[in-house]
Symmetry: C2
Subunit: 438 residues, 2 copies
């Protein structure tokens, strides 16, 4: 599902159709995606092909396949993630919704409107908000997931799915320091849209949310972004590189071991993954006042190079046994790198695919951390981790971090959710079909 496989490059360049016709009848009657190839060809004829190929706004990710997109896909620059609570009690409603979502998501990833505009006249709402007209597909991926509430909600088996809940889809335990806000926690359905453009990502969730009106309620939504030098590990808002030790998504064996679900109790999840989302507010104002050397002790890495302390280069192996001349650990016992390292967690690994978020200013204060900052950015990290089983992945790793990580002085987990993201849909079917057919 990376941007480099399965389809050849020219076929994957597309451009969100833009209607030049001014007449209302023509405009309303046309399919927004109709002439997709034409603008691209015109540009190429003008000798701009090279620039277009390099422009991420024209990137296209496949939708249908063995796995859903947005998991091992090379990370796009923007995201909008959302969770919904189902209000319908009808199993058929849910299936119908997932069918509609699948079809619309597939269309949008290929640069089309959420639904065909043919036949939608001036006297009815357009089936697409139209705010990304003229933009490209921008590498859009849409990833769907199922929360515990799809299987059992307040003790009720609303859709006859309770017996199919995988053991790996646990209710997350309370972690030390958690200060979860109900309006930013949980959810029955998960939609994660990632794209190289903020508006394209949000647009996708907005159309899907609207299709669900009457069957669901939005529980939370969250915009995120990732700024990174081309081809390098991006830095998060704390100024440190984030993702250096991720398992390589191009390593199929590693993905099969750590990311793709294989447990035999839930055959419908084969090829899927379990996703944990945590909204982690960071007191940037306080962090910025810390000495550089202290910041590096907190991470266990050098800030500018990204190298583990005691090493020279970002990708040098982390040596947890290295000592200083007095015999103390070079990488502190309560540093983030040591506590989260594979060697400290029985070989467990998770695939982090996090984004920074920046919801402007918000002057509520968490109980922890215990100081009053001079300003109150509502900014931090939308931590997103994919894994084969959270019971051996995120949960034990975060239990350790939540107790001992020096970074906790600067971070507060205010949102949390867990989802089972099923395998990719086959063309003509829908995401989650294996669950409802089981």
């Amino acid at each position: 599902m990376s941007s480099e496989d399965s389809q050849d490059r020219p076929a994957r360049l597309a451009r969100r159709g833009f209607l030049k016709a001014g007449g209302a009848a023509i405009a309303a009657g046309a399919s927004l995606g109709a002439g997709l190839a034409v603008p691209g060809q015109a540009q190429a004829a003008e000798g701009k092909q090279h620039a277009m190929a390099a422009d991420p706004i024209h990137a296209v990710e496949p939708f249908y396949g063995e796995h859903q997109g947005g998991i091992v896909t090379a990370q796009q620059a923007h995201t909008y993630v959302a969770a919904f609570d189902l209000t319908t009690t009808s199993r058929d409603d849910v299936i119908k919704l997932l069918r509609e979502w699948t079809e619309s998501a597939a269309r949008m990833t290929q640069g089309h409107s959420a639904a065909a505009l043919d036949g939608a006249g001036n006297d009815s709402p357009a089936p697409d908000s139209g705010d990304v007209l003229g933009l490209g597909p921008a590498g859009l991926t849409v990833t769907f997931g199922f929360g515990p509430g799809l299987f059992t909600s307040e003790g009720k088996d609303r859709y006859g799915l309770a017996h199919l809940r995988p053991a790996a889809l646990v209710d997350l335990p309370r972690f030390n320091g958690d200060q979860l806000i109900a309006e930013k926690t949980g959810g029955d359905l998960y939609v994660q849209a990632c794209a190289h453009d903020a508006q394209v990502a949000f647009h996708a969730v907005r159309q899907l949310a609207r299709q669900g009106y009457g069957k669901l309620r939005m529980r939370w939504g969250q915009a995120g972004f990732l700024s990174g030098p081309r081809g390098q590990t991006p830095r998060n808002l704390m100024g440190f590189k984030d993702g250096t030790n991720n398992p390589p998504t191009g390593d199929r064996a590693a993905m099969n071991q750590f990311v793709w679900a294989t447990a035999s109790d839930a055959p419908w999840m084969q090829g899927g993954t379990y996703t944990v989302v945590r909204r982690i507010r960071i007191t940037l104002e306080h962090w910025d006042q810390m000495e550089l050397g202290f910041q590096e002790q907190v991470f266990g890495r050098r800030k500018y190079s990204g190298a583990p302390i005691g090493k020279d280069k970002e990708f040098d192996a982390v040596d947890l046994n290295a000592q200083d001349k007095d015999g103390n650990a070079l990488i502190p016992d309560n540093s983030h790198v040591r506590l989260s390292n594979r060697a400290s967690n029985n070989g467990a690994q998770i695939l982090r695919r996090s984004y920074s978020y920046n919801d402007s200013t918000n002057f509520y204060i968490e109980r922890w951390p215990p100081w009053r900052q001079e300003t109150e950015y509502d900014a931090g990290l939308i931590f997103i981790a994919h894994q084969a089983d959270p019971r051996t992945g995120f949960i034990p790793i975060n239990e350790k971090l939540a107790k001992f990580d020096m970074m906790n002085q600067f971070t507060t987990h205010v949102g949390s959710a867990i989802f089972a993201c099923p395998p990719g849909a086959k063309a003509g079917s829908f995401v989650g079909a294996e669950l409802f057919d089981a």
Copy 2:
């Protein structure tokens, strides 16, 4: 101040210096901006010059000059705007702060860290948060403004400036429908950072905010973005093109007439402008349910083409006298285009330079509009308008809009501020020097 003037292209390509040295002593001692030209030259030598020139991350805007950047500069894709309340009572503190801000802003626009890192060791906080290391200047502009509180605050002339307050820097009146939130309204100082990258824009405000600790308090901050097809008028979140009728920034006579301050009562503002900021929340969920034809009546324009109703093309002149066969106005009396049109406002024009915002979900409900949406995006428009005099610009236009605009059914103004943005700084001086020297 556009990206096409005053400096030749090669000199304006720069790249935020990235330290490859792993040793802490070298890393901490080096100036982040030191070898700026080197990575760029290396890339050019690899034959990537064309791709670099096209990549907005490498764009550089001039900082010093007749006018501040970020006003008639071609609009970048992201912004972070913020307002601060001064807590110091010392005039010298304010001057010192403005000097430091000017110097840091100038550095950052050219791709350097906020302050030189030389001499900052491991045992002190770094003078820059480092989160944009490796990113380019990204066309960053930083624009400063002065709110009414700099001149008089709670009846006090804190800095001996009260007599220099321009008549044009009025306190904005209450507009019909206003539901202003105190934490998103007002401010003594304004910082508007715009860049082609979200993190570069936020980074600039974050460094400046930190430099002010002990002298000021953040009042509000707001991230925004603008997604647009290359070279076309961008669409806002309502799906309509926004900015079609803006006065052309390349037309110096129009800018002198409508944007640059010339009033004789405040000579220190010559070459400056007055900026109005409004945080306008939009009920996107409700808007999306409206018939296409009704949406077009609200705007007075076609949605897909952007043409005025009755015309074919986006830039066709708006004909307010056009009638249908029954003699009714083709462009409705309460449409946005008619009410805000120059011809309806004694020839007044303002330079809009707005951004969309998307602060995720927030389930508070404004009193108006009076319906309960199924979801509650905290999203909308950071309306930013520059003008020579708000008394003939934003205020009369918005008084009319606030009463009659059909769009008000979908919008709520929740934040508001006005600032006098002084002329550009001369090299070696600081933004606002003319005020303090007056």
